[in-house]
Symmetry: C2
Subunit: 210 residues, 2 copies
Amino acid sequence: MTEPARPLRRNEIRQQNETLILQAAEKVFAEAGFGGATMQLIADVAGLPKANLHYYFATKEDLYRQVVQNIFEIWLHAADSMDQADGPVEGIGAYIDAKMEISRRHPDGSKVWASEVMHGAPVIQDYLETTLREWTSGRAALIQRWIDEGKMAAVNPEHLLYMLWATTQHYADFGHQIETLNGGKPLNDKQWRAAKDSVKTMILRGIGAI
Amino acid sequence: MTEPARPLRRNEIRQQNETLILQAAEKVFAEAGFGGATMQLIADVAGLPKANLHYYFATKEDLYRQVVQNIFEIWLHAADSMDQADGPVEGIGAYIDAKMEISRRHPDGSKVWASEVMHGAPVIQDYLETTLREWTSGRAALIQRWIDEGKMAAVNPEHLLYMLWATTQHYADFGHQIETLNGGKPLNDKQWRAAKDSVKTMILRGIGAI
DNA sequence: GTCTATATTTCGATAGAC
DNA sequence: GTCTATCGAAATATAGAC
């Protein structure tokens, strides 16, 4: 029988604090980069003493690794919609929708990932060589099948994937530049819809699917 | 009359060393980010004592600012070809060629720029609000003119520009990821031509210009 | 599990001889 | 203009009381 008055179990405290720290870390790493981020600032954002961070994550690099892995998971699930589709209009359209939504909802995660890759992927190189490589060849094969079935033009599947990643993630990674060019204001709902439509129309027409 | 035996003038020494330091700094800033880069490492790469860096550039931020400005200059000139064109096939095609060539020749510069923007443009915000804003509205007007003349589909000019930046710069900023997916080897000449062709074909068809 | 105080390292920057 | 030695600040990480 459990005690009635105890507010939180040990595991719950741990999970709650880890989540709190990871959210703060994602924000700080995105804004300052790995080298520019400090454990003190992450602790301040999380509202915890700095020493507690080292209690839950041994080193700054361990904490950073967790942040990058979390983003990678979100990334991978975005492609589920692509697999169940009958053709490129439905499949790639859904993938663009999902990726654009992630760019809007998780811009910090996207930036941390971009920064990690730009600096040579010192922490997640193994993921690039295993999971991402498999993911890419699988989706390239799917695209090639659509080409063989005459559902789209004969484009290079890999370069199409790069274009999909580049265009969608640009709205997160270069969001500050876009905001500046938008008069200093973030894109509103209507503008996000326009962005999504523009990307989808140009790419689907670009691959001869519409 | 100048003395015959003197090897280098003062100004020549200064210019030579500044160039040397700037090249080393671009490389180190690209690989480690502003926060991760150290003056010691830049000095080592440049082959100079650390104190000499502070002789030519007062602070780390001054040095960084110079690196970013240099990149921005290269960026701006890439669009010259676009202005003299009669239509999108020639103009945007040439712009893609120029941007892809920069991604290949100056990947470090592209990464430093990307990193600067991703972190909120703390150093070159004024450039975004003046030079880049003017540049963008001018090119958007040019694209709109082509649309009005029936030379391409009625796409949103701003989002087309974002797509051009995103796709071309992706080959520099995410070059490490592309290299990993390419079996660990950088793209060779043939693969770069294929990349350029893929981007050009998909975008020009995507905007209804071909 | 929490938090203050501190050990240890490293960085940006400078002083000063050459 | 060059370079060694070093200062002072700030960072990661830990010790140890609670």
